[in-house]
Structure formats: structure tokens, C-alpha cells
Amino acid sequence: MAIRAFARAGVARAVSVPEDLVRLVTAAQRQDRAAFAELYALYARTVHGILLSRVPRADVDDLLQDVFLRAMQRLPELRDPAAFSGWLATIARNCATDYFRHAAPTAELPDDVPAHDSDRVEALAVMGIIRTLPVAYCETLTLRLVEGLTGPEISARTGLTEGSVRVNLHRGMKQLRERLERRPV
């Protein structure tokens, strides 16, 4: 199985291999726990990016687990295994929505970041700016810049069309540059 081979080799690329994905999802629907673990390994970064684009970073890891818990519980209801990517992305977005529905309004506390870790300090600042962009741009840019997915990979992992992803990336990047240039030095 190509996906498993890539993953095991530790060089997994987000290459969409629908027939292999279908087999993996179908196995997970039959409660094959190893198959679900493979799906987790394959999609954790994507779900992480979707959540990071929406909720405070401190809560992302907890929500990541909630997303996969929901997915595991509902997987038998998924009629078309080939639609897994978009289905999982929707669960992740809904989880983020529920987070704000149930959580008391809070301000995100600054990370406990050593002052000398300038990259991380800047990353948190830029992430704050990305979150001010329209949500479609925010999610796509987070997956591209933070999680390291390419446009075609984002499309394959979220169920969005390549055209939508391309538009979101270009327009989002343009707006991000403008806001970065306007930020005080």
C-alpha cells in the first residue's frame, strides 16, 4: 500500500492515492485500529493546521484529539470513503466552531517563549496577523506556511478544489504582505 510505504519510510508526501486512501478508510470503518492509526498519522498535520487557523494555539492539541475522536465515532456513517479528506476537514472546522460556542471568551495568552527564540516570537506574531485574514485565506495560508503543505497537497487533504486553494493562497498572501508591511517595527 503506497501510503503506508511512504509513511513507514518517514518520507510521507501528501500525494493523493485515492484507491489506497479508500482501502485505508474502508479498513478503519471495519474497526481496523491500525488503519485508523495510519489515517491519524497521515492527516494529523492537516487537522492541526485547520485548527491552528481558528483557535488559540494552547488548545489546538486537545482539539486535535477531539477531532479524531469524533471522526472515529462517525466513520461508519461515511458513505463514500473517497470523500474522507473533505469530511475530516469539515469535522475539524466544526470542532473549532463548537470550541467558540462553548468556551468563555478569552484572550490568547502569550506563549512562554524564551526571549532569545526570536523565530518563535515572530511566528506567533505573524500567526496573529494571519488570523485577522478572511477564514478561507487564513486556513490555506496556515496549511501552506506553518504545516508545509503545497497547494495541490492542501487541495487533496481538505477536499477543496485546486482552483479555490490557488485563489485563497494568492489573495491571502497578498493581504498578508500588506499587513506585514503596515505592522509597526
Binding site: 518517514g10 501528501a14 492527516y43 472515529m72 523565530d119 511566528a123 503545497t150
Partner: protein, 342 residues
């Protein structure tokens, strides 16, 4: 050409974009040791120009990769704990909102406290009030907890055989999916499976518990006979009589009679376990009842089953149509392999 690089990393890379990628990657998803990442930073074919442009960052990237690789090889010495309510303690000291549970340490909750333990990237265990939970191992592929008393709810998605929990009944447990486990003051453990499967093993005595079923383990006796939760109280009492070998021979015969009479088609799960657990003179009755619901494969004989022939028992198990038989085979094999190394 910037657009091409933004899209799929081909073409001329915009230096500012490359710098942003490097900076923002510090927030990237970090799989725990022993787990795999879903996407690598595979670089498509580069133009000579882009290669030149990236050459300056290559050494830094390589260094990062080496550091990450080395970190990934180091087992986590502790698991993260999140306070959910009250004041849980770790090693008898009150914890804050976040803490680490080290190997050999115990997390305890009183009547008002609750906590959640992140088992690396393989799952999560929620700790109820009045519970004492210890950490025995965090080696990748071998996460082991010790439930001394109280209740936990666990959701584990690790591949089979990577997670286990010890209980006072000296039962090595390899668990999967979603379940609750309660240990009382006498060391008696009750597991209730909400999703997936749970396996118990103690001195060669095995119990396999599927979704919707429950099972009790007892000190010095090991795992009891699993049963679906919608069985009658009388059915469960009869199983307890059989498991504890309680009462006279006649009373145990009566218990077997009740179980056989009440058994529904789905209770083949319970009947299969009883094949080797009832008194020897009762095994024919269990064999016949189970055979009436699911005939044994042609290579399975009555004498073989009665004598506990593992291959024959497994062959019949496979025919019970419990949906996860093949998965269980793999799990059990890995479980045994892991147990051998513990």
C-alpha cells in the same frame, strides 16, 4: 514566478516567502516520538536558480532535520497532564493547570478533582475523581499505565499492542479505542467498552471484549467471562458463579443452564469464552449450544475444543462473525510479541 513557488514550490522562490516558511514552521504540528508525520517537506524538482537561492538555507534546514530526528529518537520521559477540575496531585504534590507525569510517579484525584493524560500521540486518558493512576513506561510503542484504583476513560488510537494498563489483579491489559475502566478498593476491575475492542490476559487466560460488552477481572483469578451489557441480571450473576467457581457443583450446573437458556445469537461471545471455563462435565452442553448458534468449522472437533486446543478455539472464534476477527489476530500476535519483550 513567485506564484509558482507559493503554489507548489517550483519556480523562483521569493526570499521573503522562504523566510516566512522557515519562521512559521516553528508552530508546525510535532508528532510525538514513535509516531509518524503525515507530510514531509518533499521538494519537487528545483530549477538551478531556486537551488542557488535555497542553498543558503540548506545547512540550517539540514541541522533542523538532524535535531528533530535526534529528538524523535529520544523517548518522552513523561506524559502531559491537564487539570480538568479540583486539585489533582502528582507524587503527592498539587499540580497546576498543566503538569508532567514522569515514569514511576502517580497522579491522584480526590472527590472533586479530574484530570486528563495525553499519551503522547497515541491517545488520551481522562481520570475521574478518587483515582490513582501511575506511569510505568513511555517507550515509543510501549506506553504502560498502572490503574491502582478509581476510574479512567481512555481513547486510544495507537496501532495494536502499543498501549497497556496494569491493574491490581495483575492483569496485563492491551486496550484499544474507547472504554472505561474502574478498579475498586478490593482490586476488582470492571471494563466497559464503548467502541472497538479490549483484551485481557493473565497467566494464559484471555478475554476479548467488544463494543457494548463488559468484563470483570479479579485478583488471583484474572479476567472473567465477557458479556454484553444488555444481558439480564440473572445472566450476569450466573456468569459470576461460574467465574468464581462459587457454590456447589449443582449450583454451578444451574448457572450454566441459565446462561445457555438465555443466550441470544449475539451471546456467542460469552459462550465461546465459556467453552474452557465451565466444569469439564459441562463443556459438552456449552459446545452444543454454541454449535447450535454457529456450527464449528469442519476441522474443529468436540474433543479438541474441550481439551482447550488453541488452534481449534481460534478457528471457531473466526467463524463467529464478530467483524473484527482478522484485526484481532494481528493485535493478539503483536500483543504477545510485545509481552515477550516486557
Amino acid at each position: 514566478m513567485t506564484g509558482d513557488y507559493l503554489w507548489d514550490r517550483t519556480g523562483w522562490p521569493d526570499p521573503e516567502l522562504v523566510r516566512l516558511e522557515r519562521v512559521m514552521s516553528t508552530l508546525q504540528y510535532q508528532p510525538a516520538a514513535g509516531t509518524r508525520s503525515d507530510v514531509g517537506h518533499a521538494r519537487p524538482e528545483q530549477t538551478r536558480a531556486s537551488i542557488l537561492m535555497l542553498a543558503g538555507t540548506a545547512a540550517a534546514v539540514l541541522a533542523l532535520v538532524l535535531v528533530s530526528w535526534q529528538q524523535a529518537r529520544v523517548p518522552r520521559p513523561a506524559l502531559g497532564v491537564t487539570r480538568l477540575a479540583g486539585t489533582p496531585t502528582i507524587a503527592s504534590r498539587p499540580m497546576g493547570d498543566q503538569a508532567q507525569l514522569g515514569v514511576g510517579r502517580y497522579l491522584e484525584t480526590d472527590a472533586a478533582a479530574r484530570a486528563s493524560v495525553d499519551v503522547a500521540s497515541v491517545g488520551r486518558v481522562e481520570v475521574s475523581p478518587e483515582t490513582r493512576l501511575g506511569l510505568l513506561s513511555t517507550r515509543p510503542g510501549n506506553y504502560r499505565l498502572d490503574l491502582a484504583r478509581g476510574t479512567v476513560e481512555a481513547f486510544i488510537w495507537a496501532p495494536p499492542g502499543q498501549f497497556s494498563m496494569k491493574t491490581p489483579s495483575s492483569t496485563a491489559v492491551d486496550l484499544g479505542c474507547l472504554y472505561t475502566m474502574t478498579v475498586d478498593d478490593d482490586g476488582v476491575c470492571l471494563v466497559r467498552v464503548k467502541m472497538g475492542w479490549v483484551g485481557f490476559e493473565w497467566r494464559g487466560r484471555e478475554s476479548f471484549i467488544p463494543e457494548g460488552a463488559a468484563c470483570v477481572t479479579r485478583p488471583r483469578l484474572g479476567p472473567g467471562t465477557p458479556h454484553y451489557e444488555d444481558t439480564s441480571a440473572a445472566f450476569r450473576t450466573a456468569l459470576e458463579t461460574i467465574d468464581l467457581r462459587r457454590g456447589s457443583t449443582l449450583e454451578r450446573q444451574a448457572a450454566v443452564t441459565l446462561v445457555l437458556a438465555e443466550a441470544r445469537p449475539r451471546d456467542v461471545l460469552t459462550l465461546w469464552h465459556l467453552l474452557t471455563r465451565v466444569d469439564p462435565d459441562q463443556r459438552d452442553r456449552v459446545f452444543d449450544r454454541l454449535a447450535g448458534l454457529v456450527p464449528p468449522p469442519s476441522n474443529v472437533t468436540r474433543d479438541g475444543v474441550k481439551s482447550g486446543d488453541r488452534e481449534m478455539l481460534d478457528a471457531w472464534w473466526d467463524k463467529l462473525d464478530l467483524r473484527t476477527a482478522s484485526w484481532w489476530r494481528i493485535w493478539k500476535q503483536q500483543w504477545r510479541d510485545n509481552a515477550g519483550g516486557r
